[in-house]
């Protein structure tokens, strides 16, 4: 659990860093005199999001400070305080304190002294920025001391990604890595003076050990005195050997049979985990070594330290049991710029294509001779691995919700039950990072505005405990992330009245229910009577919409009075993997999302019937299913008889089952979705394109857009074009 929490916290701190960057950029722009509404709103959103996340993780100080800061920003945003030089200066220093607070929450810095900043903020709130006149002359001076944020921010705008490198733990601590492999014996041998005087030749013992496969890895000569003090009769060396783990301890011990008993003999097994055996190494010698005289024991210390770095690690272990684990975690993941991953993915795609070209050009014998199949297999594996680097289960974004709900429940006194579905849906890393903020706001809105108080729920005949259903689902080339509550639904009259009051719409505007629902996404819109820590400032849904639109998606709101509200983020999968069926349509290859395919049939003569010119249906077990041809879809000429074609029955959300007439089904494979709008613009009916194994491009069909009536797509296109 704590690991999981750490992971979520790490995401939060990444978001904080992003938010701080945005806030700093905005404040700098304001300082430069560019204080337009969008800039102020962006600073406000950033601080608001940091506050929200901090609250969820119980960072009390950070929340408190961000809240005060936000109060001032809110006034500035509302135009009640002018963003004069003095005010901006205070905000900039507050921003620095905020950065320090983030660092403090992260545990990487001391708690900042925010008294002065808080006082300054309060001052502004009280005077409405009027005290500014006196401060204004100081503003130019303030430029120099305004220190960069304590938080290290990335000036290049990299989006880091965590890549797990499970196998690298040994490399992570090269200095400490024992030369012995797991399970090998570490043998330390320091003959005593008595041993030498007994004429037991250490060389013989070592030779015997070597004959069994042991190897000297270290000779400790630290006990060797200066030449003047050297006693030729004494022994000063301690040999350290590594013996194969296949030997038994008694076999090794047998070699020492004739060695005087007061010699140093240590036999320990090298354990698998480098950190774990540390204590054993310390304990084991005491048991394993026969009697050790005091003077021989002394020189052992340096050996052990030269060996598997045991003493140092042991100290760490004792002092702070949590530390080694953290060091390990840091060693096993590295941050990689997302752009580099994309580049890698593209290059690997090229490699796959070159592979297929080789396969085409070489005869089967030549392919075998150059071991092409092996190369192809490796390439395929590389491709799979690179793809899996970017796609992450959406669980990462969802996992912070339960904790959030608990805290929200505590703060509001509402009981909320959470149901999560589809959290294994794989989503592009960039998408996961971007939906964190909107998701927080959606959940908070659902609890604060959606779910009614327990009394109201009981009065309405609903269970006392509210339910929030959080789901993720991939449909074609889109991902649907939905937060659905069973609360009171959107109070449209109130939304409308508020919108009129705020001047967002005219008092006599004619609006559909859907249009009124959309108003809750307007910047600064809130129906809450009081501003609470949870919501009510009216940035929440604005954040949701702007983040989702920045990703090229859209937000859908459905609300039934008395039954609840469902807010859906519909996101494109810029670089998602799609399980697709490759079909030929009028000679051209297309990819059909396999998830929407129900079945494929080859029609019997007469099974496909024309209802009106240009409209056909297919009879499927007594049901009539409309059939679409390529002609209907793209205006490609297609006059074939139905019997010569295949009809693929697909499931669509808007019109149920629909048949698509295709020439052939070629293949089934996972494809990488490439968006068309990267270099062109979205095209209706297409969810993107993909590059097939031979380097050619196949277009991905967007079933929903294809089967529904064109006019129904007006809104969708608007959303995508934005």
């Amino acid at each position: 659990m704590s690991d999981e929490l750490d992971e979520i916290q790490a995401i939060f701190f990444e978001e904080c860093a992003e938010g701080l960057t945005a806030a700093e950029a905005g404040l700098s722009a304001m300082k430069a005199g560019d204080a337009d509404a969008e800039t102020i709103a962006s600073v406000f959103r950033a601080v608001h999001s940091i506050k929200g996340g901090a609250g969820a993780f119980g960072h009390v100080d950070l929340t408190a400070f961000a809240h005060r800061f936000e109060n001032v920003l809110d006034e500035v945003r509302a135009g009640r305080i002018a963003p004069s030089a003095g005010v901006v200066k205070v905000m900039l220093s507050s921003f620095d304190i905020l950065s320090d607070h983030v660092a403090y929450a992260k545990g990487s810095a001391e708690r900042p002294n925010d008294t002065a900043a808080l006082t300054a903020l309060e001052e502004i709130l009280k005077n409405g920025g009027a005290g500014d006149a006196g401060e204004a002359p100081a503003a130019p001076v303030a430029e120099a001391p305004a220190p960069p944020p304590a938080e290290e921010e990335d000036p290049f705008g990299f989006t880091p990604v965590l890549v797990s490198l499970d196998d690298f733990d040994v490399v992570a601590e090269p200095a400490a890595a024992p030369p012995a492999a797991d399970g090998d014996w570490i043998v330390c041998f320091g003959p005593s003076r008595a041993a030498l005087s007994n004429a037991s030749e250490p060389m013989l013992v070592i030779r015997e050990l070597e004959s069994m496969g042991a190897e000297i890895v270290h000779v400790d000569t630290s006990a060797l005195p200066g030449l003047r003090d050297l006693d030729t009769e004494d022994s000063y060396f301690i040999w350290k050997l590594i013996a194969p783990g296949t030997l038994s301890e008694s076999e090794i011990r047998d070699c020492f049979d004739f060695v005087a008993p007061d010699s140093l003999i240590e036999i320990t097994r090298c354990e698998a985990a480098p950190a774990a055996p540390v204590l054993e190494i310390e304990i084991a010698p005491v048991e394993a070594a026969p009697t050790i005289s005091d003077d021989t024991f002394v020189p052992i210390e340096p050996i052990v330290s030269a060996a598997p770095a045991a003493p140092q690690l042991r100290v760490v272990e004792v002092d702070d049991p949590g530390k080694p684990a953290r060091m390990e975690a840091a060693a096993q993941t590295i941050r990689v710029d997302l752009g580099k991953l994309d580049m890698l993915l593209n290059l690997v795609g090229e490699l796959v294509i070159r592979n297929s070209i080789l396969a085409d050009r070489l005869s089967p014998q030549d392919q075998q001779r150059v071991e092409l199949p092996e190369l192809a297999r490796l390439t395929r594996q590389i491709q799979d691995n690179v793809m899996s680097l970017r796609a992450q289960p959406i669980k990462q974004a969802f996992s912070r919700v339960p904790r959030m709900l608990r805290d929200l429940g505590e703060a509001t006194g509402k009981q909320v039950n959470l149901i999560t579905t589809g959290d294994t849906t794989e989503v592009d890393k960039a998408v996961i990072e971007k939906i964190g903020d909107p998701l927080t706001h959606m959940i908070r809105n659902a609890v604060d505005h959606g779910i009614e108080s327990t009394e109201k729920r009981l009065a309405a005949g609903k269970p006392a405990e509210g339910t929030i259903h959080l789901s993720a689902e991939q449909k074609g080339a889109r991902i649907f992330v939905r937060v659905k509550d069973d609360g009171g639904g959107i109070n449209r009259e109130r939304v409308r009245a508020k919108a009129v009051e705020r001047g967002l719409i005219a008092a006599d505007a004619v609006m559909t229910d859907e249009e009124i629902d959309q108003l809750i996404c307007a910047p600064g819109f809130s129906t809450a009577e009081s501003i609470s820590n949870i919501s009510g400032r009216g940035v929440g849904m604005d954040v949701v919409r702007s983040n989702v639109e920045a990703l090229g998606g859209r937000v859908e709101i459905q609300s039934v009075p008395g039954q609840g509200t469902s807010i859906t983020m519909i996101l494109p999968l810029t670089l998602a993997i799609l399980d697709g069926m490759i079909v030929k349509l009028a000679g051209q290859r297309f990819v059909l999302p396999l998830a929407s395919v129900v079945e494929a049939v080859r029609p019997e003569p007469g099974q496909v019937m024309m209802t009106t010119p240009g409209n056909e249906v297919i009879e499927m077990r007594g049901q009539y299913v409309p059939v679409k041809r390529a002609t209907d879809i793209f205006g490609i000429a297609d006059t074939r008889k139905p019997e010569e074609a295949l009809v693929i029955i697909v499931e669509s959300e808007s019109v149920g089952h629909v048949g698509l007439m295709v020439d052939t089904i070629d293949d089934r494979r996972e494809v990488v979705i490439k968006s068309l709008d990267q270099n062109l613009h979205p095209i209706r009916g297409l969810g993107g394109a993909t590059i097939l194994g031979d380097g050619s491009i196949a277009l991905i069909l967007d079933i929903e857009a294809l089967v529904s009536h064109p006019t129904a797509h007006r809104f969708a296109m608007k959303g995508m074009a934005a």
């Binding site: 993915l345 593209n346 290059l347 795609g349 090229e350 294509i353 051209q588 879809i633 793209f634 205006g635 490609i636 490439k674 968006s675 068309l676 990267q678 270099n679 062109l680 613009h681 979205p682 095209i683 209706r684 009916g685 297409l686 993107g688 394109a689 590059i691 380097g695 050619s696 491009i697 196949a698 277009l699 296109m717 608007k718 995508m720 074009a721």
Partner: protein
């Protein structure tokens, strides 16, 4: 060519032919030149968009430049090639008849395009006379090159039509 200071050769253009005309595009916008390869056609797009092709994992639209400029579509032949350019961060491939040369020019010598020249004057940013390599000493018999304004050719300008 080397005397006056206002004739410093400060720009490089790549020249190519479309029908009888010679055009130039600023070298800085060129990503690469590719052999013609039949692109994957796209539905419901203006006919000058020939389709999309795979440029090292990127899906890049291919534009019939002749049609885009309102002329007869280019006929594909062995020297047809695709000039891949970067227009405001978006990549596009232009089908051209033949790539001729890379020429250093002086910005100062570029003349503004006469408005009457083509139906859509905005796509031509200027005219310049260049000497053709290989055609010997006859410096006077230079060749007129129409320099294209890539921003005006941006495909996303047609977003409204497609949407």
């Amino acid at each position: 060519m080397t005397k006056a200071s206002d004739t410093t050769l400060d720009r490089k253009i790549i020249t190519f032919s479309l029908g009888q005309q010679t055009f130039g595009i600023d070298m800085r916008a060129i990503i690469e030149i590719r052999e013609w390869e039949e692109p994957t056609p796209l539905p419901t797009v203006p006919s000058f968009i020939k389709g999309v092709t795979n440029l090292r994992g990127n899906v890049v639209p291919v534009v019939g430049l002749a049609e885009r400029l309102g002329w007869e579509p280019s006929k594909i032949h062995s020297r047809s090639c695709i000039l891949v350019v970067n227009i405001n961060g978006k990549q596009a491939g232009f089908l051209v008849d033949e790539v001729a040369d890379i020429v250093a020019i002086a910005s100062a010598e570029i003349q503004p395009a006469p408005d009457v020249e083509i139906g859509e004057p905005s796509v031509i940013s200027g005219l310049i006379r260049i000497t053709v390599r290989g055609k010997g000493e006859e410096k006077e018999a230079g060749q007129m090159v129409l320099i294209l304004d890539l921003d005006a050719l941006s495909l996303t300008k047609h977003m409204d039509i497609a949407a």
